[in-house]
């Protein structure tokens, strides 16, 4: 069995936690080599270099309830692609993280958690049934919680980790209901079996469409939590409290993509519910637009990237919603490369500026950090979708073309979002890297060490070439996929126009500016989502908690617990008075009792006198 891919990161996490954590460099080496071994075995598996097929075993077997849960692995192009992304990008980020976190006292702990995350994420990718996927889904949630709250001494980081965990819980609840629905309806949770059953069902459908819609929506709720769709998106920007490599790995490249991956994996079930697909498309594209709008008014370099991640995830989900699975996975892959690149670039800047994250205090970094500058430029170009040369262009184009064919509403909003993306990324780049030095920390900035530069360069190369047709990522996912479209030209022209508008607008507004010339409070305040949640959910919950506290204190505590004990105590106190220690008194009472019994038996009891 070739479970090396999955189990080495777990082994590394356990090893570091139990044995090597006092030795920082050794722990780092263990974690990185585990990731490296995973990457090599993935390559062997994907390119068929003598890797044994992944075996499986039955974990739960209840034939009467037709509940059979395997621990097994999918072995298809979708999983292969995702494995490559997770291990490949993961490896780059492991190296970068060593450079970034070198001075941190919790270095061993950090790498142990990173390895734990790799294990959970690879588990999601490999899972061949919904239950196994759910287990690793939760594991990913937990490792994300650990990593966001890595600097737990900071209250904001601790809060952010709790928020991420709790918001995800809402989505996971829906996911669990969805899984139960699937099992109830199809009597199986295995992807291969399910696929066959769904095909059979389409011919003679018996189940109610309403039920299917709700079931699919439940599954989508899992995606909404993990991939941070509106209205469960609030955790992702806060998750930027974690160390920057974590943001790059978890909250840009891999974990948040898990939701999209899950949707692609169960796409055959989604197809049963066209109306829910419509909702998915609208939620996705709505998230894309809203996040892009918010991103135009943020000042924290990581927050901008976080919102752009939200926006791009919205694209992917919308693509699944309109049925363009291959385009969605394609965009997921290229996005993983260039967004990891952007986050690592931001990390490099933050590292050089001693943890300064406000981009208005940066500027003039071109000569100081040339490698970071150029790689960040490539990342920006890829995210904005500069035509032909960058990967982001090709994958976004696939989504837009699919939307052009199937769903004009999504297309229009997607196009606007593309323009906004170009706008805010140009703004970020102009303000953070160009212009004059706007604070003292910039003067002391210097280029990052080799261990951080190398991943940047590698990811920059990937961010460019991953979209090219002869690399063929889209065809790798689906061999039958045809990248040539007849209407491609119109879409191409339109998106180039939007790109020019976006970049031009940003250049006009932000060239050589020292502070933000426009101020839109709704965008800057993230459309008041946190405030609304605070007013409704947090307040409501507090009121409910107070009511329950009252019941606990006065009904359960006072009446049942203290009331009973007080009653017994008082009864005891009263009865105690009788026991005066006078034998004659006892006898007197006893005789009275005897007389009473005699009286009762003789005159009162039935059959008496």
């Amino acid at each position: 069995m070739n479970w090396i891919i999955l189990l080495t990161p777990l082994a590394a996490a356990v090893l570091i936690a139990l044995l090597t954590h006092p030795h920082k460099r050794l722990s780092v080496a263990v974690s990185i080599s585990a990731c490296f071994i995973s990457f090599i075995s993935t390559l062997m598996l994907v390119f068929d270099l003598g890797a044994l097929p992944l075996g499986s075993f039955t974990w739960v077997n209840l034939p009467e309830q037709s509940l059979i849960i395997e621990i097994g692995a999918m072995n298809d192009p979708l999983a292969h692609m995702m494995l490559l992304v997770v291990t490949g990008v993961g490896l780059c980020i492991h190296f970068f993280a060593y450079g970034y976190m070198k001075e941190d006292p919790g270095l061993s702990r950090f790498f142990a958690k990173l390895s734990l995350f790799m294990f959970s994420m690879l588990g999601i990718v490999l899972a061949n049934n919904l239950v196994m996927m759910f287990i690793f889904w939760e594991l990913v949630g937990v490792s994300s919680y650990f990593l966001i709250g890595f600097w737990f001494q900071r209250p904001s980081a601790a809060e952010a980790s709790k928020k991420a965990f709790i918001v995800n819980r809402v989505g996971d609840f829906g996911f669990l209901l969805g899984i139960l629905g699937v099992w109830w309806m199809f009597q199986s949770v295995d992807f291969t079996v399910l696929s066959g059953k769904v095909d059979a069902m389409q011919e003679g459908s018996g189940a109610s469409q309403n039920l299917i819609n709700w079931m699919v929506f439940g599954l989508f709720m899992g995606c909404m939590g993990k991939s941070a769709m509106v209205p469960l998106h609030v955790w992702l920007p806060d998750a930027m409290e974690g160390p920057t490599p974590v943001s790059a790995l978890i909250h840009a490249a891999t974990m948040v993509a898990a939701g999209v991956y899950m949707l692609c994996r169960i796409f055959f079930i989604l197809e049963l519910a066209p109306s829910t697909m419509e909702i998915i498309a609208w939620i996705g594209i709505g998230t894309a637009l809203m996040a892009a709008l918010i991103a135009t008014q943020q000042n924290d370099i990581k927050k901008i990237l976080a919102y752009s991640t939200l926006s791009q995830l919205g694209y992917m989900v919308a693509a699944v919603g309109i049925g363009a699975v291959v385009a969605s996975m394609f965009h997921l892959t290229t996005h993983a490369f260039f967004k990891a690149l952007l986050f690592l670039g931001a990390g490099s800047v933050i590292h050089a500026l001693h943890h300064e994250q406000d981009m208005w205090k940066m500027g003039g970094l071109k000569s100081k950090m040339p490698v970071t500058f150029w790689t960040f430029l490539i990342g920006t170009a890829a995210l904005a979708g500069v035509p032909v040369i960058t990967s982001g262009f090709w994958s976004k184009e696939e989504i837009l073309i699919a939307a052009w064919h199937d769903h004009k509403g999504v297309f229009v909003i997607g196009l606007i979002t593309a323009g906004l993306t170009a706008f805010y990324m140009t703004r970020l780049f102009l303000v953070a890297f160009l212009g004059k030095e706007r604070s003292d920390v910039v003067a002391g900035a210097h280029e990052s060490p080799m261990v951080m530069k190398l991943p940047l360069i590698l990811l920059a190369i990937l961010a460019i070439i991953a979209g090219w047709k002869f690399i063929g990522i889209a065809n790798f996912i689906d061999p039958g996929f045809d990248p040539n479209h007849e209407d491609g030209f119109i879409v191409l022209i339109l998106s180039i126009v939007m790109l020019i508008i976006g970049v031009g607008g940003a250049l006009g507004l932000y060239w050589n500016k020292d502070k933000d010339p426009i101020s839109l409070s709704a965008f800057a305040n993230k459309f008041y989502f946190d405030e609304i949640y605070h007013l409704t959910i947090v307040r409501g919950q507090n009121a409910w908690a107070k009511a329950l506290d009252w019941v606990d204190q006065w009904v359960i505590g006072a009446v049942f617990v203290r009331g009973l004990s007080e009653f017994c105590g008082m009864a005891g106190g009263l009865l105690r008075l009788i026991q005066g220690g006078n034998l004659q008194a006892y006898v007197f009472i006893f005789v009275l009792g005897v007389l009473f019994v005699c009286y009762w038996i003789l005159f009162r009891a039935p059959g008496g006198l």
Binding site: R576, Q579, G580, G581, N582, L583, Q584, V587
Partner: protein
């Protein structure tokens, strides 16, 4: 009645004890005389129950006297008194 009054009034444990014995013997007497009435009314078989009960009471009373007197002797040895008013440590 004399026995019961003695139990209720006297303070000396041995006297109380003797009064208890008095009550038992009074009960025996009553049983014997009632069994006599029963024999006159319902025939000689009916007298048996009362008489058997008397023998039981005599036996049990003998055992009880042995145990009770032993307890009183033990109590006297440890407390040097048989006055019940002074033996009130067991109250609350």
């Amino acid at each position: 009645m004399i026995g019961m009054a003695g139990v209720m009034v006297r303070r000396n444990l041995i006297v109380i004890y003797m009064c208890l014995e008095l009550m038992l013997n009074a009960a025996n007497l009553a049983l014997i005389s009632f069994s006599r009435f029963s024999a006159e009314r319902f025939g000689p078989e009916a007298a048996m129950e009362g008489q058997i009960l008397v023998f039981f009471i005599i036996t049990v009373a003998a055992a009880e006297v042995a145990v009770g007197l032993a307890l009183i002797v033990a109590l006297y040895r440890s407390r040097q008194t048989t006055n019940v008013n002074e033996l009130s440590e067991m109250r609350f």
